[in-house]
């Protein structure tokens, strides 16, 4: 293989980002080519130089300032939930879960008022009769780490005075 074509691979070679075949090809060539070995040393030296740059330090209060600046920022999370539901999350849900989320969706749209001015739709607050502990869902979020599971937060509170939550698993 010629030196010019080979040297264009050196960067990826030192990063360990070549295929096994390419790696072997280069290694074999390097054994008999001092010019390419020099060239490779150079690329490696550049990489090492950049890697040894000092860690630049921000002002001490940067994180505090960033957090303060978030006060006026409205997250789009509710909008996203809304959009995701429309975009076919329903298909993955069981009929019961779908009914609940549909009802909850109405509430999400409702509670999203003011959170995101992009949502202008209004919906009446639906009542979900899915069990004694469940009343009106007030928020739906995706449960982590599987984003297909929905977490529905209900308006009433449980024994520990925490809002009731219901995880709706994605059905197959």
């Amino acid at each position: 293989m010629n030196c010019h074509r080979l040297s264009s691979l050196f960067s990826a070679y030192i990063d360990g980002e070549l295929t096994g075949v390419e790696m072997i090809e280069i290694r074999n060539h390097l054994e008999g080519c001092p010019a390419c070995r020099d060239e490779l040393d150079n690329v490696r030296a550049v990489k090492r130089l950049v890697g040894r740059l000092r860690t630049a330090q921000p002002s001490r209060d940067l994180s505090t300032r960033i957090c303060a600046s978030l006060d006026g920022v409205a997250p789009y999370s509710f909008l996203r939930t809304w959009a995701a539901l429309w975009q076919g999350t329903f298909r993955k849900l069981s009929p019961t879960a779908m009914a609940v989320s549909l009802a909850a969706l109405g509430m999400v749209v409702y509670t999203a008022r003011g959170i995101d001015e992009q949502i202008t739709a209004r919906a009446n607050a639906p009542i979900v009769a899915a069990g004694p502990s469940l009343t009106m869902p007030v928020a739906i979020t995706f449960n982590q780490p599987d984003s297909r599971n929905l977490r529905v937060v209900f308006a009433n509170r449980g024994a520990n005075n925490q809002p009731n939550r219901w995880i709706i698993p994605a059905s197959d």
Partner: protein
């Protein structure tokens, strides 16, 4: 309705607390990258702040199975590109100029600049030289180099952060390092 609002409020507060925690944990790392991208303190702080604001705004889109840093890299790349678009270019560069291959003498000089494994941090002077060499290359090359050599990302992760193909990452790094070497050679011999 008051009850509903107070619960929604609680959820929002929880999310906000979680996010503040992420800011405290990741802002230094973010700033360091931003500094190497922009080359100065003020822009680096602006970039960092803007990136976190955008991250917060779109926090709902963050897939939790992904490390937060990787998601932040993506946002920082975007914010950086937007930042450049808003501002007039300070330097005029001709990126298309072919870079000449250096001779053996220069080869030695660059290898000499590189610290030995015992020297973990470069001198201020050398640090400044490398930073200014970074600033002379096209931004997308610089970003790739910063992600690869400072953050130690894989090509796949860089491709994800910069929204380009792995082949593009490969070529940006190759060309970026070539430019660096060329610039550092000039410094070394001058």
């Amino acid at each position: 309705m008051e009850l509903i609002e107070s619960i929604t409020d609680t959820c929002r507060k929880e999310e906000r607390q979680a996010f503040d925690e992420l800011v405290h944990r990741h802002h230094k790392q973010a700033y360091n990258i931003a500094y190497r991208m922009t080359g100065n303190h003020t822009d680096a702080e602006d970039l960092t702040q803007e990136a976190f604001i955008r991250a917060f705004r779109f926090f709902g889109q963050y897939r939790r199975e992904l490390p937060f840093e990787n998601w932040l890299y993506r946002i920082m790349s975007n914010v950086f590109v937007d930042m450049l678009r808003r501002r007039p270019k300070v330097q005029i560069r001709s990126f298309d100029q072919p870079i000449q291959t250096e001779d053996g003498e220069a080869t030695m000089e660059i290898a000499d600049l590189a610290p030995t494994p015992e020297e973990s941090v470069l001198s201020n002077e050398l640090d400044a030289r490398i930073q200014s060499a970074l600033m002379t290359m096209p931004e997308e090359f610089r970003l790739a180099v910063v992600y690869a050599d400072i953050e130690g990302l894989s090509y796949e992760e860089i491709a994800d952060a910069m929204r380009c193909s792995i082949g593009t990452v490969r070529s940006r790094l190759h060309r970026g390092r070539k430019i660096l070497r060329e610039r550092l050679k000039t410094y070394a011999s001058g």
